[in-house]
């Protein structure tokens, strides 16, 4: 076992019930921060199309594939849409029939209520350039419509959670390091280098960030699963959850942001050891 792991194990061993509670608080606040960060990209209804195409028959959805798709990819897309449980029928319309430059699929939802969710789900299929319905359309790459008030609320919540996690993190590390002060003094007195003493402290913060990041990934995965398998009211409020690429991006981004924030909290904790109380010969 390396020196790092030995010192890290010893540091974790000094965590008592109270400091563990504070660390859990840090993980919770970091998770809340990451969730709010993710919400900025996942919440919101699909944006309305500026001018719906009049050629889409009532009750049907027009799915326009990317012009660069090969015929086999087009077939695969056809089969994928046809096999969906919320799709009643699918037909291919030639450009001349639609009066446009390229052909498209016309999809009829299994139930009228499922139309909106289906629009969002179809827009998430790779290779789909545009999805339109008489009630509205969703672009694959367009931003979700989120009101300014909600965005500001999310941002304020994010900042509050971040500041709170830094404050609670500092409290937690103050308590943990007070119990580990003897070990730090012995190490400094005996000539242990700072690169041995400080990394385990930072690693404890990183561990909190990793746990918060894992919680975020699990939460997003569960919500994504719910959104894609049981489309309902959830999709109207969080339509980004059905876009697999977006979900993956937010999960990975959120996870690494959690690690970064945890490391920052750990570094703040490590900076506490520069005070006189932690010097070898105070």
């Amino acid at each position: 076992m390396s020196t790092f792991l030995y010192v890290f194990g010893d540091l974790v061993g000094t965590v008592n019930r109270r400091s563990a509670g504070l660390l859990l608080g840090v993980i919770g606040l970091l998770f809340a921060s990451l969730a709010l960060f993710g919400s900025l990209f996942l919440l919101g209804a699909p944006p309305a199309a500026p001018s719906p195409t009049p050629t889409v028959p009532s009750g049907e959805i027009l799915v326009e594939p990317s012009p660069s798709l090969s015929s086999s990819a087009l077939d695969a897309m056809y089969l994928e849409i046809r096999d969906r449980s919320d799709v009643a029928t699918i037909t291919y319309r030639l450009p001349e029939e639609l009066g446009s430059e390229q052909g498209a699929f016309l999809v009829r939802p299994a139930t009228p209520g499922a139309a909106r969710a289906l629009v969002v789900a179809l827009s998430a299929i790779p290779g789909v350039a545009r999805v339109e319905s008489p009630t509205g359309s969703a672009s694959r790459s367009g931003p979700l419509s989120l009101s300014g008030g909600v965005k500001i609320g999310l941002l304020v919540g994010l900042v509050v959670c971040l500041v709170a996690s830094l404050i609670i993190g500092r409290l937690a590390f103050r308590r943990i390091l007070a119990a580990f002060a003897g070990e730090i003094r012995v190490m400094r007195l005996s000539g242990t280098e700072e690169r041995t003493i400080l990394p385990p402290i930072i690693a404890l913060g990183v561990l909190c960030g990793i746990l918060a990041g894992i919680l975020l990934v699990v939460a997003i995965t569960v919500l994504h699963y719910v959104a894609t398998t049981q489309p309902g009211a959830l999709l109207h409020a969080a339509s980004g959850l059905v876009a697999t690429g977006r979900v993956l991006g937010v999960s990975i981004g959120g996870f690494f942001l959690g690690v970064l924030l945890g490391g920052l909290i750990g570094a703040l904790g490590a900076s506490l050891t520069q005070s006189r109380d932690y010097q070898g010969y105070a």
């Binding site: 020196t3 010893d10 070990e183 242990t192």
Partner: protein, 216 residues
């Protein structure tokens, strides 16, 4: 081994703690620095042990000028210095773990650390209390443990700050015998004490520190 020249040191509030101190300690020598409380003994040991940054004057330890050493080289030098601080407080671990912790932190593997720790504890006659929580030790055994921690990585220089403090006369003599034993192994030792001196160490070289000045 140690050469102090024109050493001055003032506290944060400007009070002169050490004034024009000159001191030379040869390899293998045992020096007792005797002086009343607040005479600057602990600061002197802190400066020798590179724990307190020097202000004015020159400190050579093992031929290296302490003031000019980088952080990494200071750490290297500290590894060659065993330090028993005043009122040594053991870690809340067993006696063996207290000694092994320092060695593990310095990079030794578990088996190696335990082997060295056992050897140090054997030297201070604490092998019968290996698994006892160190915080439950009597004052004499605490000093023994502190010495074991200080010598476990076989340093060239030992700095002991008030090892006789708060000990009964009989215990002080036991510590003296222990210091003699350790000295016989070839360690250079500087021991700070406010006195009175226990009989067994009166044979050593005595340096008196008064009002920040050294008198031999």
């Amino acid at each position: 081994m140690i050469q102090l020249s024109e050493l001055h040191f003032s506290s944060d509030d400007g009070i002169k703690v050490l004034e024009d101190v000159h001191l030379h300690v040869d390899r293998g020598e045992m020096v007792l620095v005797v002086g009343p409380a607040a005479s600057g003994k602990s600061i002197l040991l802190g400066l020798l042990g590179t724990q307190v940054p020097p202000q004015l004057g020159q400190i050579l330890v093992h031929g290296r000028n302490v003031a000019r050493l980088s952080r990494a080289k200071l750490s290297d030098l500290r590894r060659q210095i065993g330090f028993l601080p005043q009122n040594f407080v053991p870690l809340p671990k067993t006696v063996l773990e207290n000694v092994a912790f320092k060695l593990r932190a310095l990079g030794d593997f578990r088996e190696q650390a335990e082997e060295k720790a056992l050897a140090a504890l054997e030297l201070v006659d604490l092998t019968s209390r290996l698994t006892v929580p160190a915080t439950e030790l009597e004052p004499l055994d605490r000093v023994r443990l502190g010495l074991a921690v200080a010598i476990c990585n076989e340093p060239l220089l030992l700095l002991l700050d008030e090892p006789f403090d708060a000990l009964a006369t009989g215990d002080q003599q036991a510590v003296c015998r222990l210091l003699e034993q350790i000295h016989l192994l070839g360690h250079t030792m500087v021991v700070a004490t406010r006195g009175p001196l226990p009989g067994e160490v009166r044979e050593s070289r005595i340096v008196r520190l008064s009002d920040g000045k050294v008198m031999e």
